[in-house]
């Protein structure tokens, strides 16, 4: 019995336990509201259902949040991801829209490559400001957040560029083996990031830099290079997310693509258990966090919550998520279970006391 209890404690003590509970509760609430919520059917050889929507729609957020996790792990923050996504989506769509044959795979690949290259440049720009010049991350990336929106609109001339390109569309709404392609991309990128950070020493080094930059420098870590790198990675992730967002609706809207995604991404990272102060980061937590956020948004639509109160609903859930996750909060309700130390036996103590 006691082993069962310790095993239970092990499960409930796991970092992902409470976020997952929240996710399940949200899904359950939806199912109660509409029993068919969980049903997934096969339509035209594609999986079809609200659950699939949630995962597909959270793919861009997952991508952005992955990059954001790394940035936050170094103690930084990247506000520019939304703008970077918009710029890259816009460039890709602009290039494709100018091709005689928008369905040519080559053209789409070129478009994506060009936009991706731009993303790397933008990431490098952030990286130089933060790591090279030493500007506070929030303000350094704020610059690109503001200017990047302008760039995106400059690219689209303030219009919505509509394209009609099947290969590009695939990125957002295509399917592979009945699964939405976006999910596969998100999985692949997750895998790459996970392998890159956890199979090499990169993850630990990032955590060291975030935990104590000066100590890491004195241990021979090239802190600046690492800091630079995470901003580039973050921008690259944002670019892929930007492709997905624009491919989803086959159009690039410089103003709307990725608007406020930085807040959602940071929220996902934080829900996932990574501290904004830097240090340890948890990719799996980030993904669960992103899923929670998307489920929340979808719930508002699926449960037809009045848009005027939707934000109140969001606020309640977010606060519930953080409360339930906070050990200090749970501790307050578990006082009576406080472990009591077994009293030491007198023999063990062998006090040798001398009167003062």
């Amino acid at each position: 019995m006691s082993t069962a209890r310790t095993r239970l404690a092990g499960v409930t003590g796991h970092r992902l336990f409470w976020p997952l509970v929240v996710l399940v509760v949200l899904l359950a609430a939806n199912t109660v509201y509409r029993p068919s919520f969980l049903s997934v059917e096969l339509k035209n050889g594609h999986l079809y259902g609200s659950l699939v929507d949630i995962v597909r729609l959270s793919a861009p957020l997952i991508l952005v949040a992955l990059g954001m996790s790394l940035v936050i792990a170094t103690g930084g923050i990247d506000l520019s991801v939304g703008s970077v996504a918009a710029v890259c989506g816009a460039i890709a769509c602009l290039y494709i829209s100018e091709q005689p044959d928008q369905n040519s795979l080559g053209a789409v690949l070129t478009a994506v490559a060009i936009a991706f290259g731009v993303a790397l440049v933008l990431g490098a720009w952030n990286g130089i400001l933060v790591a090279g010049i030493g500007i506070q991350p929030i303000i350094a990336t704020l610059i690109l957040m503001v200017a990047g929106r302008g760039l995106a609109q400059l690219v689209t001339s303030g219009q919505i560029i509509t394209i009609n390109s099947e290969p590009y569309k695939t990125i957002g709404v295509g399917h592979l083996l009945t699964l939405p392609f976006a999910i596969i991309i998100a999985l692949a990128v997750t895998l790459v990031v996970a392998v890159l950070t956890r199979r090499t020493a990169l993850g630990m080094i990032i955590e060291a830099v975030g935990g104590n930059a000066e100590a890491s420098r004195l241990a021979g870590v090239r802190s600046r290079r690492i800091t630079f790198l995470v901003y580039v990675v973050s921008a690259a992730c944002a670019a892929v997310a930007g492709f997905m967002m624009t491919a989803n609706v086959s159009s690039a809207d410089g103003n709307a693509v990725g608007l406020w995604v930085e807040l959602d991404a940071i929220l996902a990272v934080v829900i996932g258990g990574t501290s904004l102060a830097g240090g340890r980061f948890y990719l799996s937590g980030t993904i669960v966090g992103a899923l929670i956020i998307q489920t929340l948004t979808t719930s508002v639509y699926a449960m037809n919550i009045d848009p005027q109160t939707a934000l109140l609903f969001k606020a309640v859930v977010v606060i519930a998520v953080c409360l339930i996750q906070a050990p200090a909060f749970r501790a307050r309700f578990r006082r009576r279970h406080a472990p009591t130390a077994a009293p030491a036996t007198p023999a063990e103590k062998q006090k040798e006391q001398v009167p003062a």
């Binding site: 030493g134 303000i139 610059i143 503001v146 609109q153 934080v270 904004l276 606020a315 953080c322 906070a326």
Partner: protein
């Protein structure tokens, strides 16, 4: 045995500014340079009223940024400010619309913000949850309250409000509004609080190292809750000023204001990690944003996207110079 006393550093010349204030002074100098550029480029820029307008138009931002300065000095962050500003304006407008006496409205409006701030502070402290997430929930909540109260903007016609809004306090040829005076009073009170009260010093202490502050026997919890309450109060005052400014409550007003506020505070030289910064710096930060905006309006030839790019560019130039001046001094 002789003990060599550690050689005291040479006496400081009276004109030498303390190291800590160099960044703020550098910022001030750069701000003046920027203003000078405006004057040399656009004729009407040199009107004193332009300067006053920057204060008139940014009075509420200034007040909110002052509150944010407290929070950031402790190493926290408050994302709820923009929404609380909007909520305060909405509540005032809707209560006034219902015919409630302005004094009562003022009181209620000034209580809601701090109450929410207090609640957030308590959650942050007692449950040890990251401020970012708590105040983000607060942001959703306050904005949700706005749309819940009304999805359309509510005009204010109350006599007290309109006279507060339209009263012009003449200074020679030019004028300022009541809001400017309120903002300056808030700045003065905040600067005094930070420099000369225990609460203020504890704010710096927590920002320096919360663990150490705790071990030094400082009231960490109380101070943390206090700063979020103060930020809430400043947001409430900012909300009132905004309702003076626009004579209405609109559910979508002040969206994204938290970023402007944070930007102003950080440009003013306050470290986002806490423990270092001045209210005066925040004033400069707000002015920098105001001057950038004024420069762009005066130019009047930029398209919408170039506006954003130029704002980003000016911000970059400013930060870069500020940083370079700072490095040289280090």
């Amino acid at each position: 045995m002789t003990t060599t006393p550690l050689a005291a550093r040479g006496p400081r010349a009276w004109w030498r500014v303390p190291q800590r204030q160099v960044p703020v002074l550098a910022t001030l100098a750069l701000l003046l340079v920027m203003y000078g550029i405006g004057v040399s480029q656009y004729r009407a820029f040199s009107n004193i009223q332009v300067v006053f307008n920057i204060f008139i138009d940014n009075g509420f931002l200034l007040v909110v940024a002052v509150g944010m300065t407290f929070v950031i000095l402790t190493g926290g962050i408050d994302l709820s400010v923009g929404s609380v500003v909007a909520m305060t304006a909405m509540v005032s407008a809707s209560l006034l619309g219902d015919g409630v006496h302005p004094a009562v409205v003022l009181l209620i409006a000034l209580l809601i913000g701090p109450a929410l701030g207090f609640a957030m502070g308590c959650v942050i402290h007692f449950f040890d949850i990251q401020p970012f997430i708590v105040t983000l929930a607060g942001m959703f909540f306050a904005r949700g309250m706005c749309t819940w109260i009304s999805s359309t903007s509510i005009p204010i016609t109350d006599g007290f409000w309109t006279s507060a809004a339209q009263e012009r306090i003449r200074i020679g040829e030019n004028f300022v509004t009541v809001s400017v005076l309120v903002a300056l009073v808030v700045v003065a009170v905040a600067a005094y609080t930070l420099a000369y009260t225990r609460l203020g010093r504890n704010v710096y202490a927590i920002g320096g190292n919360q663990q150490s502050a705790l071990l030094m026997g400082l009231p960490v919890g109380r101070t943390k809750i206090a700063v979020y309450t103060i930020s809430g109060l400043c947001s409430a005052i900012g909300g009132i000023l905004l309702s003076f400014y626009t004579l209405s409550g609109a559910p979508l007003i002040a969206i994204g204001m938290e970023l402007d506020t944070i930007a102003a505070v950080v440009i003013g030289g306050t470290l986002l990690t806490g423990g270092s910064g001045y209210v005066f710096g925040t004033v400069l930060g707000v002015l920098v944003l105001g001057v950038i905006q004024t420069l762009i309006t005066f130019d009047g030839s930029l398209s919408s996207w170039w506006t954003k790019i130029v704002i980003g560019g000016l911000l970059f130039a400013f930060i870069l110079l500020q940083r370079l001046v700072g490095i040289r001094k280090k």
